[in-house]
Symmetry: C2
Subunit: 444 residues, 2 copies
């Protein structure tokens, strides 16, 4: 797609914390920069009460790694600011990632300790990717996790993403993408359509009614322009009168009405009855108004045909970020030497487990997932068919790119393979336990 390549061409190299470049400089001088290293992205916990996480942003990470190239103005600025020395600037000028990345494919679910992304290369080439990788995954996965709860709560009814105005203007575009991965039907955000090919949709705002001399004039204008299949906003003045006017103006083939305020359950029932009485029994009812997954679930028995979700989607429904971290888990002691597990050991709750991890989702006899198994040694044969990581970048070449529809399909399958309690909205523990399989031996 044209738009994708235009956007993808922007350098991501400065979406980076300063300490990564200064660590690089110090490691170039000490020689540690060239040690083979393994970094892992994982999270120690899910947000309180959540049953599963949703991996999203993988495709954007692949773009960001490819475009992690320093431009001349960026290098000049780094020099001018004295961020790093000449040797480091030369390294950065030639930088491109030449290592391997494996990870959970987009749309997959995850649990505490799941090795979501494994970045292997020299310390130098891997350490400087920390911030941009975490930014993308922490944001997109937070949105996808909320979106997945909403689409589960909505059953088969379509959920539309309308949150752009409540999010940073570029985060909004990625939020629409993450929501689409987790089953949203469409977005209001045109840039998300342009950049990511997501279906776009929309209705009308109160301003459109108010700029006309009457609601009737506004409805007439909208139908003249958009056709009878359009969605009329009916809660600017008096809902009952608006519905009557809407059907008078459009006839019984009016596409839909939107209700954006008030007691939505009560109003949906009233409007449905009124529409049916007016012969508009195929006119759909769309509701929007600070909906979240709980409000969607509460409307399950109401005659509602679609949900528009804004604020709670783009803010991750109470959890706007994940707690994913990017940790060095193994490195060689000499160039080309064997990898040695490493881990922070100080007290304070932030310790982690050294060594490169594999992960598998073990099914029970009926094919329902029963555990997330994470290990550092050899993979037991019976788990091989259930490994969760896939190759994404090999020797610097991207091998894991896929259309968004693949991620979307994967999410449906992955969520369906979890125990049924996964989609309960009540607070609880992760729906799968994470089982650690560590090789016997000293050191941990």
């Amino acid at each position: 797609m044209d738009a994708t390549s235009v956007r993808a061409a922007a350098s991501t190299a400065l979406l980076t914390d300063r300490y990564e470049l200064t660590m690089l400089q110090a490691a170039l001088r000490s020689g540690a920069a060239h040690r083979s290293s393994v970094f892992e992205v994982f999270t120690r916990r899910l947000p309180s009460g959540r049953r599963y996480g949703v991996m999203a942003g993988t495709g954007r990470v692949l773009d960001a790694v490819e475009n992690f190239r320093f431009t001349s103005p960026q290098l000049d600025w780094l020099a001018d600011q004295g961020v790093v020395d000449e040797e480091t600037l030369r390294f950065l000028a030639d930088y491109r990632f030449r290592g391997d990345i494996h990870g959970y494919p987009e749309g997959e679910v995850y649990f505490p300790g799941s090795p979501l992304l494994t970045v292997e290369g020299t310390f130098a080439e891997a350490v400087i990717l920390e911030t941009v990788i975490l930014s993308i995954l922490n944001h997109d996965s937070a949105i996808a996790a909320a979106a997945s709860r909403m689409t589960a709560a909505a059953g088969g009814r379509p959920v539309i993403e309308m949150g752009a105005r409540r999010a940073h203007e570029h985060a909004a575009v990625s939020a629409a993408r993450a929501a689409y991965v987790a089953g949203f039907a469409a977005t209001s955000d045109l840039e998300a359509g342009f950049t990511h090919g997501i279906p776009t949709t929309g209705t009308a705002a109160h301003a459109f009614t108010l700029v006309h001399d009457s609601e009737r004039d506004a409805f007439k204008a909208q139908i003249a322009s958009m056709g009878k299949g359009t969605t009329l906003l009916v809660d600017t003045f008096d809902l009952r009168e608006a519905v009557r006017t809407a059907v008078e103006v459009a006839g019984p083939d009016l596409g839909a009405v939107r209700i954006d305020s008030g007691d939505l359950t009560l109003l949906a029932h009233r409007v449905r009855r009124q529409l049916d009485d007016l012969g508009a029994d195929r006119t759909r009812i769309i509701v929007t108004s600070d909906l979240d997954e709980y409000a969607i679930a509460a409307l399950a028995a109401a005659p509602v045909d679609g949900y528009g979700v804004g604020t709670s989607l783009v803010t991750g429904s109470g959890h706007p970020t994940c707690a994913m971290v990017y940790k060095l888990v193994a490195r060689a002691e000499t160039d080309g030497g064997p990898l040695i597990p490493v881990a922070k050991r100080a007290a304070g709750g932030k310790t982690s487990i050294g060594g490169r991890k594999w992960a598998a989702r073990r099914p029970d006899a009926d094919g329902v997932a029963e555990a997330e198994v994470v290990g550092t040694g050899p993979v037991p044969d019976y788990l091989r068919p259930h490994l969760t990581q896939v190759p994404l970048v090999l020797g610097g070449e991207t091998v894991g790119r896929e259309p968004l529809s693949a991620a979307r399909d994967r999410h449906v399958r992955a969520r369906a393979a979890l125990p049924l309690s996964a989609t309960q909205l009540s607070k609880g523990d992760p729906v799968l336990p994470t089982e650690l399989v560590l090789p016997a031996g000293p050191g941990r």
Copy 2:
């Protein structure tokens, strides 16, 4: 600045909800598109318990409005997708905003009902700016409000923004900017330095210690590269041993140590005593570890020299967005006719007050602010010196651009002019009441 103009050149025109363009199309056909209109950005409430809001993003709005120009690939895509018709595409191809914008200058504080931004022009030219304006202001002001609480809690100690990894990669850059407006000293985010000229800073990660054969090797490498003024991370293995090693390696002139886990109050006292005993009495102590304004306040009596704040800053400390809306409040009935107040009237809690608003912050006899006065009629003479809006765009020309330092200074002054209880962290009502001054007459 070079970087600013590079970035500013990107079109913002598709950071827009689809319904804005379809409303435009319908209004072009009905003729309402050409009616003089007034849109206002305001919020009905502050986040629960917050005492004041902080206006941020104004400068970015000015860039976004200037760059709201449709490119050929964007227009082709809109045509290809059938979003709007030929007439509307021609309008968009020629579009640039030619109206006026007044608003609260960046760094100013605000309250429920404050008219934060007033956009005046034809319905057509103003309606399509809704989403991008709200995206910017809702995000940046949410970050600035949290940042202001943190800098108030920190007293004179520097607070550093380190949250990029927990936010969308581009939202992070704007978050660093908003935090700087609200008094943060610096950011870890290099792009924020490159694009906005904000000071950047950094320390080192646990990975840097772990990639070396010993903590001592890592400290030596960092000091060899960065000098003794650097900040060493001392909580990878054993804190006490690390501090001893740090001073052995760097000598008593070591710049700072960073503690990133554990009971920060206790550890800061211990490390301070140890550093003093080692003669490193000028070595500073920086703490980072899921800090928010409450944790910062709790550390006020601890021997801490600076705070690094990540997650809670970029997520608005529990309130990642504001509830700002963009509402049509007045429009002419004929081209060039007088402006008529308009407002949504349906039940459901989302009603608003029609008419273009002015606002003033009324001081008491001692110069302390005592009310946010918002009105729609003539401005009483005694309030004229206290009006809060400034001109930002006049006849399509930007007149309100200013350096970030001006916004930063303004925030210090605006916060200092509030009653002292403004900076209490306990939950409470807005520190100023909003008083409405509406002209007598029928209708409300």
